[in-house]
C-alpha cells in the first residue's frame, strides 16, 4: 500500500460520485453520490498525512487525520440538513425526482 494506490482509490471514488450526482434522478441517491465525492477528498487528506510524512509541507502525520475527522463531522451535519430538505421537498411534491425540480429555470 502506497500513496499512489490510495490516490487511485480516491480518484475512482470521486469519479463514481460525480457520475452518480449527474445521472441519478432520485435525490437521495444523488446525495449519496455527493457523499462519495466528499469522502474521496477525505481519503486524500489521510493518504497525504500517512505517506507524505517527513515532508516540509506535512511535518505532523496526525494533523492530516485530525482534519479529516473534523471534515467527517461537518459533512455529517451537512447531510442531516440535506436530508431535512429532502423530507420537506417530499412532503410538498410527493416525489424526489431531481429533473422535475426545475424551479431555477430562466
Amino acid at each position: 500500500m502506497n500513496l499512489t494506490s490510495c490516490l487511485m482509490l480516491s480518484a475512482a471514488l470521486f469519479a463514481i460520485g460525480a457520475y452518480g450526482l449527474v445521472t441519478r434522478r432520485n435525490m437521495i441517491a444523488a446525495l449519496m453520490s455527493l457523499e462519495l465525492m466528499v469522502n474521496a477528498a477525505l481519503i486524500n487528506f489521510v493518504a497525504f498525512a500517512r505517506f507524505g510524512g517527513g515532508h516540509a509541507a506535512a511535518p505532523d502525520p496526525e494533523a492530516g487525520s485530525l482534519f479529516a475527522l473534523f471534515a467527517v463531522a461537518v459533512t455529517a451535519a451537512e447531510m442531516a440538513l440535506a436530508l431535512a430538505i429532502v423530507i420537506a421537498v417530499h412532503r410538498q411534491r410527493r416525489h424526489l425526482d431531481i429533473r422535475d425540480l426545475d424551479g431555477m429555470h430562466g
Partner: protein, 682 residues
C-alpha cells in the same frame, strides 16, 4: 481695493455684525419655511418682520462702524474698502490662492454698505407692509419665508468680495424672484410671468457665466480687488482668434458679464419680463423694483466699474442700452393703464438712467449710485401705495380708480411726495440724483445720453403725474370712458371685480405706516446724502477721497437744473391739462387713438414680436426638427440598444433550464478545462 484688510483693525464684533446681517434673513427663511409658516401664518409674518428689523438694526450699526473705522481712516484704508471676513469654500488645484478658489466673504466698501442699508431698510418695511397686505391670503405662510430668502440672496450678492460668490447669490436672487412672481401659482398668468422672468434672466446669465470665466481665469483670480486692478485689465487686454474671428478678451469678457446685468436689470430688449413680473403680490413687486433683483444688474456693473472702464466698447454698450431703455420705457409708461405696469415701466426707465450714467464714465459713478439709493425709497413707496389702492378698489386698472384722494388721504400725500421725487422736483430726493446724472453726462461730453436723460426727465414727470391724477383725483371710475382706453385693450386689463364699489375703502395701519415712513427719505434723503455720495462713493481704484472729489468737480452748468425743472414742470402741466383738468386724456379726432398712441400702449409690440419669433420661427424651424431628432434618432438609438440587450438576454436565459444536474455537469466540465489550461495533468 488693493489693500483689503481682513478683520484685523476692524475688530471681531464687526465680523459678527456681518454674520448677523446674513444670518437673520436666512434664519427667518428656515424657521418660517420649515416650521412656523405652516403652523401659524400670522406668527410667521411677525417673526419674519422682527428678524428683518434686527437685520436693519445691524445694517445701521455696520454703516456707522464703517463710517467710524474705514472712512475716518483714509491712511489705513486708502481704497475705503475692507474685507470683514472671508472663507475659502472650496479651491481647485493650487491651495487657497489658486485661481479657481470659491470664497465666501463680506466686503465693506461704500456701495456695499449703502446697498446693505437700503436692502435691509426696504425689506423690513416691505415685511411690515406685507403683514397687512397678506392678511387675508391663505398662503401667507409660504410668502414670508420666500420674502426673507429674497432679501438674504440680495444681501449676499452685494457684500460679495468675489465674482463667484456674486454669481451664486445672483442666481439665488433669480430663483427667489421666480418663486415670488409665481407665488399665486394657481393663476396661469402668474406662472407664465415667473417662467418668463426666470428663463430670460437665465439666458442672460449664461453669458454672465462665460464672461466671468473668461475674465477670472485670464486675470488670475475672481476677487474684485484682483479684477478691478489695472494689472487685470492689462492681462485681459489682448486679442485672440485668427482671421476675421478675432476678438479682444477684455471686451468679450466684460460684455459677457454685462449681458448678465443686462438681463437682470431688464434693459431693452430683455425688458419684457419686468412688466409681467407684476403678477406677483405687490410687496414683491415693490422689493423687486426698489432694492432687490433689478438693481442687481446696475450694482454688478458698478462693482466691476474699473474693469469695465478699461473696456471702452463695453462701456459704450452700457451707455447705449441704458439711454435707449430710459427713453423707450418712459414713452411706453405714458400710455399704460395698469397701475403696476406704469410703475414697472417707470422702473425700467430709471434703471436706464442709472445704467447709462455708469456708461458715461467715472464722473457719473457716484451719481448713478446716488440714484439707486434715492430711487429705492420713492419707488418702494410708489409700489406700496399702489398696493393700498389695489387693495381698496380690487382692480389693477387706473380707470377703475380715481378720487382716491378722499378715501385714502395718507396714501395720497405720501404718493404725492414720491411722485414729486421721481419727477425730479426740487427739493425732493429724485431731483438731486437725477440732476447729478445729467450733470455728469453733460460734463463728460456724452450729449446723446444727456439728451436721452433730459427727455426721460420730462416724460417721467408726465407719466407719473398722469398716474397720480388718474388714481387720486376726479371721481371713482370716471376715467372708464376716456378716449385712450379703446386702444389700450391689449395692455393687460387687471381682473375687474364687479362688486368693487360695494367694498368699503380702508387704509390699514400696517400698510400705511411703512408708506408714511418711506415718505420721509423720499422727500429728504437726496438733500442730506448728496455730500456723502459725492465724497465717498467713488469707483474703487480712483485713489483717495480728496482726489476723487476733485475728479468730480465737473463743469457745473448752472442752467442744467433749471432746464430739467422746466421740463419736469412742463410734463406735469401737460398731464394736468389732459388728465387732471379735462379728466379724459388727450382728445383724438373722431374718438379713435392714432397709430403712435396704439404703438405706445402696446409697448411697441415687442411681446408680440417675441411670441411670433418663439411660436412661428422658433417652434417651426428649431423646435420641430429638434423634436424629430430627439424622438427618432436619440430616443430611437436608445430604444434599439435596450431592445438588443433584451433579446440577447432572452437567448442567454434559454441555457438556464433549472436542471441542477446539468449545472453540476457543466461545473465539473469547467473544472476539468480549468485544470487543463492551468497545466495540471489529467
Amino acid at each position: 481695493m488693493g489693500d483689503s484688510t481682513v478683520i484685523g483693525p476692524l475688530g471681531e464684533n464687526m465680523g459678527l455684525i456681518g454674520y448677523g446681517i446674513l444670518a437673520f434673513p436666512l434664519l427667518s427663511f428656515l424657521i418660517n419655511g420649515l416650521w412656523l409658516g405652516r403652523k401659524s401664518p400670522r406668527a410667521s409674518a411677525w417673526t419674519a418682520a422682527a428678524l428683518m428689523g434686527l437685520t436693519l438694526a445691524l445694517a445701521v450699526l455696520l454703516a456707522n462702524a464703517y463710517r467710524g473705522i474705514v472712512l475716518a481712516n483714509p491712511g489705513a484704508f486708502p481704497a475705503r474698502a475692507a474685507l470683514l471676513w472671508e472663507h475659502t469654500w472650496m479651491s481647485f488645484g493650487l491651495g487657497t490662492d489658486s485661481v479657481l478658489a470659491a470664497k465666501a466673504g463680506f466686503l465693506l466698501d461704500p456701495i456695499s454698505v449703502m446697498m446693505v442699508f437700503v436692502i435691509s431698510c426696504i425689506s423690513f418695511l416691505v415685511h411690515v407692509y406685507s403683514i397687512g397686505y397678506m392678511h387675508d391670503d391663505k398662503s401667507a405662510g409660504r410668502f414670508f419665508p420666500l420674502l426673507s430668502f429674497f432679501t438674504f440672496a440680495m444681501l449676499g450678492m452685494v457684500v460679495s468680495g468675489n465674482l463667484i460668490q456674486t454669481f451664486f447669490f445672483w442666481e439665488l436672487v433669480g430663483v427667489a424672484s421666480y418663486l415670488l412672481i409665481g407665488f399665486w401659482y394657481a393663476k396661469p398668468s402668474a406662472v407664465a410671468a415667473s417662467k418668463k422672468a426666470f428663463i430670460l434672466t437665465r439666458l442672460a446669465d449664461a453669458f454672465f457665466l462665460i464672461g466671468m470665466l473668461v475674465v477670472g481665469i485670464s486675470a488670475g483670480g475672481f476677487g474684485f480687488d484682483r479684477l478691478n486692478s489695472p494689472e487685470a485689465a492689462a492681462a485681459l487686454n489682448h486679442t485672440v482668434g485668427a482671421g476675421f474671428l478675432t476678438f479682444n478678451l477684455l471686451t468679450v469678457g466684460t460684455l459677457g458679464i454685462y449681458m448678465g446685468a443686462w438681463g437682470k436689470s431688464a434693459m431693452f430688449p430683455f425688458h419684457v419680463w419686468l412688466p409681467d413680473a407684476m403678477e406677483g403680490p405687490t410687496p414683491v413687486s415693490s422689493l423687486i423694483h426698489s432694492a432687490t433683483m433689478v438693481v442687481a444688474g446696475v450694482f454688478l456693473t458698478a462693482r466691476l466699474f474699473p474693469l469695465f472702464s478699461a473696456a471702452a466698447h463695453t462701456l459704450r454698450v452700457v451707455e447705449c442700452t441704458g439711454a435707449f431703455t430710459a427713453v423707450f420705457a418712459a414713452a411706453i409708461a405714458c400710455t399704460q393703464t395698469d397701475l403696476k405696469r406704469i410703475l414697472a415701466f417707470s422702473t425700467l426707465s430709471q434703471l436706464g438712467l442709472m445704467m447709462f450714467a455708469l456708461g458715461t464714465g467715472a464722473g457719473a459713478y457716484p451719481a448713478s449710485m446716488f440714484h439707486i439709493f434715492t430711487h429705492a425709497f420713492f419707488k418702494c413707496l410708489l409700489f406700496l401705495s399702489a398696493g393700498v389702492v389695489i387693495h381698496a378698489i380690487h382692480s389693477n386698472d387706473v380707470r377703475d380708480a380715481g378720487g382716491m384722494r378722499k378715501a385714502l388721504p395718507r396714501t395720497y400725500w405720501a404718493t404725492l411726495i414720491a411722485v414729486l421725487a421721481i419727477s425730479g422736483i426740487w427739493p425732493f430726493s429724485g431731483f438731486f440724483s437725477k440732476e447729478e446724472i445729467l450733470h455728469a453726462a453733460f460734463a463728460s461730453g456724452h450729449y446723446g445720453a444727456f439728451l436721452a436723460g433730459l427727455c426721460t426727465s420730462g416724460l417721467t414727470a408726465f407719466y407719473m403725474s398722469r398716474y397720480f391724477f388718474l388714481v387720486f383725483h376726479g371721481t371713482r371710475g370716471f376715467h372708464g370712458a376716456y378716449a385712450g382706453s379703446a386702444a389700450a385693450g391689449a395692455a393687460g386689463h387687471g381682473g375687474k371685480d364687479p362688486d368693487a364699489h360695494a367694498h368699503p375703502v380702508r387704509e390699514g395701519l400696517l400698510m400705511t405706516l411703512p408708506i408714511l415712513i418711506l415718505a420721509v427719505p423720499s422727500a429728504l434723503i437726496g438733500y442730506f446724502s448728496k455730500g456723502f455720495f459725492m465724497r465717498a462713493v467713488l469707483p474703487s481704484g480712483s485713489g483717495t477721497a480728496e482726489a476723487g472729489g476733485e475728479a468730480l468737480a465737473h463743469g457745473g452748468a448752472a442752467w442744467l437744473p433749471a432746464v430739467a425743472t422746466v421740463l419736469a414742470l412742463t410734463g406735469v402741466a401737460v398731464s394736468w391739462y389732459w388728465y387732471g383738468m379735462k379728466k379724459n386724456g388727450p382728445a383724438f379726432p373722431n374718438g379713435k387713438a392714432p397709430a403712435w398712441y396704439r404703438i405706445l400702449s402696446n409697448k411697441f409690440y415687442i411681446d408680440e414680436l417675441y411670441l411670433f419669433l418663439a411660436k412661428r420661427v422658433g417652434a417651426r424651424l428649431v423646435a420641430a426638427p429638434a423634436a424629430w431628432v430627439e424622438r427618432r434618432i436619440v430616443n430611437g438609438a436608445f430604444d434599439w440598444v435596450t431592445g438588443a440587450i433584451k433579446r440577447m438576454a432572452f437567448v442567454q436565459s434559454l441555457a438556464q433550464s433549472g436542471q441542477v444536474q446539468l449545472y453540476i455537469a457543466v461545473a465539473l466540465l469547467g473544472l476539468y478545462l480549468l485544470s487543463r489550461f492551468a497545466g495540471l495533468a489529467f
